[in-house]
């Protein structure tokens, strides 16, 4: 016998799904902003010529990159409380996802910065720029353009990773679906619906990344 689809459960629980949708978006936006800023800070600290700054940051960066994100989230939520620091699920997810994104963003920034010829920094220094002025005015704008495609890829990946927050009881999309399923016993409808919703969230970001690449690729004022 064919499966009887009951799509009406979606309408019935629209508010729960809507909330999940909003939380997924909020978590994604916050993680992307925090992860990028933190990633830049990691990169700059790793370039500081002082062993007590450079090496611990590098080590942290490496650990964050090597650990599965799920493990980071579970550790923050279930293990950290033993030290007395108890984080609500959303905060733990925000911190964990931001840290892991930062580690990858930092790698992207590093390779972006290293791809800029040394002479670019030197000419700025020779004209009287300080090192940080040269970094922010000359190196990073050029590096940013080169690493943007890579960065957009990381963002898209991390939006998808917000689904992992469901295991630490964050009311995001997947978790909301699970809650609804536990009362309606309609997993097929709900999992299909959230798959579509994830696509609706991700696809504009993908389109935007193509647009931005195209726009930055062509940069001609006059010939």
């Amino acid at each position: 016998m064919a499966y009887q689809w009951h799509w009406d459960v979606l309408w019935q629980f629209r508010f729960a799904l809507w909330k999940g949708f909003l939380i997924t978006i909020a978590l994604s936006v916050l993680v992307i902003i925090a992860g990028t800023i933190l990633g830049l800070i990691f990169t700059l600290l790793r370039r500081v010529n002082h062993p007590l700054i450079k090496w611990p940051v590098s080590a942290l960066n490496e650990i964050l990159r090597d650990l599965p994100i799920l493990v980071i989230l579970i550790w923050l939520y279930y293990v950290l409380p033993i030290t007395g620091i108890i984080l609500p699920g959303f905060l733990a997810a925000f911190i964990g996802l931001s840290l892991s994104l930062a580690a990858f963003v930092s790698e992207t920034f590093r390779s972006g910065i290293e791809s800029i010829p040394k002479g670019q920094m030197e000419s700025a220094i020779a004209l009287g720029y300080s090192k940080s002025q040269a970094m922010f005015k000359i190196i990073l704008p050029q590096a940013f353009k080169r690493m943007l495609p890579n960065l957009m890829g990381l963002y898209i990946h991390q939006i998808k990773n917000t689904a992992l927050a469901s295991v630490i009881a964050v009311d995001e999309l997947l978790h909301s679906a699970n809650v609804v399923i536990s009362t309606t016993y309609r997993p097929l409808e709900l999992y299909t619906a959230i798959a579509v919703i994830y696509l609706i969230i991700i696809m504009p970001v993908v389109a935007f990344s193509y647009y931005i690449e195209k726009k930055l690729g062509i940069k001609v004022k006059t010939l």
Binding site: Q120, S123, A124, A126, L127, G128, T222
Partner: protein, 392 residues
């Protein structure tokens, strides 16, 4: 005269390699000094140290008789001095994400803190000075090397440096682009700009410098007026260096007669690197084979062993040329061009060397070593090559 730069006992090494072994020099206001020397002599390192871009291990640099920089100086002290210096680099180092005008304006806005209007006016004035006003809104990637270097000079001059340090500013340019830069530097010299240049362009150095310094193994070993250095260097090492430069610039030799013709062609094959391609414009057909005579077997043997290729544009294949094609199949390519485009006698291009061969009796080869000319002929060859039809 006011001394603006005084260097005492400058030393620097990279690991075990001693690059500077004790450099002393003085530069007065309005004076132009050129440092010349072979590669690895340390000339660029001196300039980088004086520009405070590289640290040095020992010695001191005194600016305007008051500011002293030593290896112990802090970054802050160095930054203050850098404000008074201008450095122009071999590879321009323009910022590709900014237009030409923005490249000049930004340091003025950020470091000199002038108003936007003032920066723009100054930028356009500097561009006018270097003859590139119409390129103000273009991105550097759309400029030729010579234009880029002129913008780089304009950017540095806009900051009104007391001392201008120029590091091999013509080295990355094609020979035909050097002229414009040299003219610009000469004009700056007339305006009284204090300059220290590093160059291997001896003729240029002799035209603008008040003094030429010759550096060898990290030390200045000779110093004097351009005339005294070029025509009467006291040190043997200076004389050797000048000699190599002058012979390398251009060389013309003539080989006349059957014996010289053969010997030269065989010698050429022995000299070139394996895998070299010889480009030939036009051909003398069987007459070339007559001239090379019994040396052809050796010639083709060397070609075979060293994988030396021929690429020829020709209007008609002679019987012997066809035979060569069969014998050295992967090393010989002909393309047929219309008869009116054929070159009488023939012109060969082997790297930087051009051979003009005439096939009278006796035959003659004129050998010209000149990089720019060889490049021009090669471009001409490529044009014909593209128009030609392949021969199988």
């Amino acid at each position: 005269m006011k001394t603006v730069l005084r260097v005492k006992g400058l030393k620097k090494s990279y690991g075990d390699v001693k690059v500077l072994t004790g450099v002393d020099l003085e530069l007065n206001k309005g004076e132009i000094k050129c440092i010349i020397g072979g590669s690895g002599s340390g000339k660029t390192t001196i300039l980088r140290c004086l520009g405070l871009l590289d640290d040095f291990d020992a010695g001191e640099v005194i600016f305007e008789d008051k500011d002293k920089i030593t290896p112990e100086s802090t970054e802050k002290e160095k930054k203050q001095i850098r404000d008074k210096l201008g450095v122009v680099f071999q590879d321009f180092n323009l910022w590709p994400h900014k237009t030409v005008l923005e490249n000049i304006m930004e340091p003025l806005l950020l470091i000199r803190k002038v108003s936007k209007k003032e920066a723009k006016e100054k930028g356009l004035l500097m561009l006018k000075k270097v003859g590139l006003k119409e390129k103000a809104d273009v991105y550097p990637d759309f400029l030729s090397g010579g234009q880029k270097q002129r913008v780089a000079i304009a950017r540095t001059l806009a900051m009104e440096p007391n001392i201008l340090l120029l590091d091999e500013i013509t080295s990355a340019l094609d020979p035909e682009l050097v002229g414009g830069i040299l003219k610009l530097i000469k004009r700056l010299a007339r305006e009284g700009q204090t300059m220290l240049l590093v160059t291997h362009h001896v003729r240029f150095a002799s035209e603008i410098a008040d003094t030429i310094l010759f550096i060898d193994k990290g030390k200045i070993i000779e110093e004097g007026s351009p005339r005294s250095i070029i025509y009467g260097a006291k040190e043997a090492r200076t004389r050797d260096f000048l000699k190599t430069l002058i012979t390398h610039d251009q060389e013309i030799n003539v080989y006349e007669g059957y014996e010289d013709f053969k010997a030269f062609l065989i010698g050429l094959l022995k000299r070139v690197k394996p895998g070299t391609i010889g480009y030939v414009l036009g051909a003398a057909g069987d007459r070339w084979y007559e001239c090379i005579g019994d040396a052809i077997d050796e010639y083709e043997k060397i070609r075979h062993e060293k994988n030396i290729k021929w690429k020829m544009v020709i209007y008609k294949l002679s019987a012997k040329e066809r035979k060569t094609l069969e014998k050295l199949k992967n090393m010989t390519e002909y393309r047929l061009i219309p008869k009116e485009l054929n070159v009488p006698g023939n012109i060969n291009i082997w790297g930087d060397t051009i051979l003009l061969q005439t096939f009278g009796d006796p035959p003659t080869i004129i050998e010209i070593k000149n990089k720019a000319l060889a490049q021009t002929y090669l471009n001409y060859f490529k044009l014909l090559w593209e128009r030609g039809k392949e021969v199988n």
